[in-house]
């Protein structure tokens, strides 16, 4: 069943109009309505927008973080659920905002990364410069599997002024291969990362070459 056919934007918009007239009582009914859609199609775009509208206009925030956790329990790759998590963290009147939730969210995302380092969602969710992020990157690099997001994250962190420790530097160096041309004269860590990525992530070879070309000259060795 294609969830998109269930959800017509016009009808959803009409539901908003009706719900607005009914007030906060309509909240649980609207939330239940979207929940049913997600049961069939957990990433339905317009249903998620509608759900966000309901929460902001009519309330019902109390169980939302739990609902996100439940959806991610079922499918940790559900990017809509991660997005909703971010929405709840920043907007819920019950949670204290980004600052208050930062620690637990970093832990939550890192747990997801450790379980599935190839899952892009938690990597994009990690928008914070935090030592736990550095450790997570290191663990992934050492496993030598599915490390493209770990390298990409380290590259971004280097751009923010992050100074990696020797362990991280060694882990990166060990991913270089002697016959791929990037070893030798190039001792710049960020450039190394770009070279490794151009090799390991060939779909984005142009992008990594471009990233390397715009690196500041005085990069950390």
């Amino acid at each position: 069943m294609d969830g998109r056919r269930i959800v017509k934007v016009r009808r959803l918009h009409h539901r908003r109009w009706v719900a607005e007239k009914l007030g906060p009582d309509a909240a649980s009914r609207e939330l239940e309505f979207t929940r049913k859609i997600f049961f069939l199609d957990a990433k339905n775009y317009h249903a998620w927008s509608h759900r966000q509208w309901v929460l902001q206009a009519l309330g019902g925030w109390e169980d939302e973080l739990d609902y996100c956790a439940q959806l991610l329990e079922e499918d940790v790759f559900n990017n809509s659920a991660w997005n909703q998590r971010y929405f709840v963290i920043t907007k819920s009147p019950f949670l204290g905002g980004l600052k208050a939730m930062r620690d637990s969210e970093v832990d939550y995302a890192i747990e997801a990364i450790d379980a599935n380092p190839e899952n892009e969602s938690p990597w994009r969710y990690l928008w914070l410069n935090d030592s736990r992020v550095h450790s997570a990157c290191l663990r992934v690099l050492k496993a030598k599997r599915n490390f493209k997001f770990a390298l990409s994250t380290l590259l971004d962190l280097l751009g923010l002024g992050f100074k990696p420790n020797q362990e991280i530097k060694d882990a990166i160096t060990s991913l270089r291969t002697s016959d791929s041309g990037e070893a030798g004269s190039d001792s710049d860590l960020a450039n190394s990362i770009c070279s490794i990525l151009a090799r390991e992530d060939p779909m984005r070879a142009n992008y990594w070459t471009w990233r390397s070309s715009k690196l500041p000259q005085a990069a950390e060795v």
Binding site: W48, N79, Y125
Partner: protein, 462 residues
Amino acid sequence: MEPPPPPPPPPSGTTVTQRDQWRVEQEVGRIYSFFAQLPPAAQSFALEVQRDNHIEYLTRGLRGLAPSFGSLDASRPWICYWIIHSLALLGEPIDAELEDSVIDFLSRCQDPSGGYGGGPGQLPHLATTYAAVNSLITLGGSRSLSSINRDKVHNFLRQMKQPSGGFRMHDGGEIDVRACYTAISVASTLNILDDELAEKVGDFILSCQTYEGGIAGEPGSEAHGGYTFCGLATMILINEADRLDLSRLIDWVVFRQGVECGFQGRVNKLVDGCYSFWQGGACALLQKLHPFGLSEGGEDESTDSIDSSLYAASNVSEQEEQENNLESASPQVDGTCQFKQGGPQSASCSINTGNASYNFLERRAEGGSLFNSSALQQYILLCSQLPEGGFRDKPGKFRDLYHTCYCLSGLTVCQYGRSKHADSPPLPWDVVGPYSNLLEPIHPLHNVVLSKYQEANEFFAG
């Protein structure tokens, strides 16, 4: 030719996302493997744009559309645009009688107080206004262009404008990034874009850029390819693109191209041919923005080798990993490919919004593509194209006019992706398949064939 053996079942202990992704990779992998073992002549044929069959499919669609008045279907202007734009990309003129009936039909969709509805007598709507205007511009000629009542369209746009800066799709309709794009694009092509319409649009779109880097339809929603194109194009049209976090945006967009070689619309979603335009087109825009103003580099040579990559695809059999990923099958891009940035001179943004669209064409796109152009062309031609005519989302789906339009639009974006100017002919190796695959170039902000945009630009300049 024996049918291929049925694919193994997906690995156990996986989520819905992983299973769906795995199935698509299997299907696409089979197509690429099959292609790889074809003799060269057959490969050549497989990579050809099947012009005649596409033209027949499209023309039949147009004939079926024009005379039908009874239907309450609100998307007929869209269908007009998808067909007319596709035919224009293929360089195929439309029969004069058919053209006249389309112009007449669209004229009847025009609301007396301004804007175009989905059909005669239907309330005006920004999306159908965009589709109608783009269709009429693509048809070209004074009859078509003069049928547009610009003053009334302007009134309609002003009515849809919201205090927050965004636009409402129609009276009582949703406010989102797509509404902003359709409004601003129409205003720009009709030369009626003014400060009042542009005011605070940038604020609204900025509020829709998410933590991921892409742009959502509304503040808080998920980053999405369609809205990313719309948001980015709108910001460029109002000269506010530099307000976006461009590096995060670029990072998000380039990662949307997966092992299947096509683009997905969102993180962890499935590849879809239409994103060839929404995401590929966004990359093309970003390439021209020169956000980091670096100095120009040397010559650019890409020797993307499809044969070796598809040979690799045919060797993808059992994998140890659960997810059977096809990363080894992605086309090899020559490591010397440099993505170059233009000089700082093109960064000067004219405050005169009326010229932003035209001036954008003058910007030089230096060097290589931000995305993997040959891989995307491969996906479009081998996985989306149907030899009997039309294009589809992905293998297993049916063709439709929307996907035909956006796959062809994505294809032309790829072909001209490294051209120094919007319409300079690409080098042979930038065109996957025979050089006769070359389509007409487009204006990358409006998705209208460039020569038609230029004709309209002159027509409405007065």
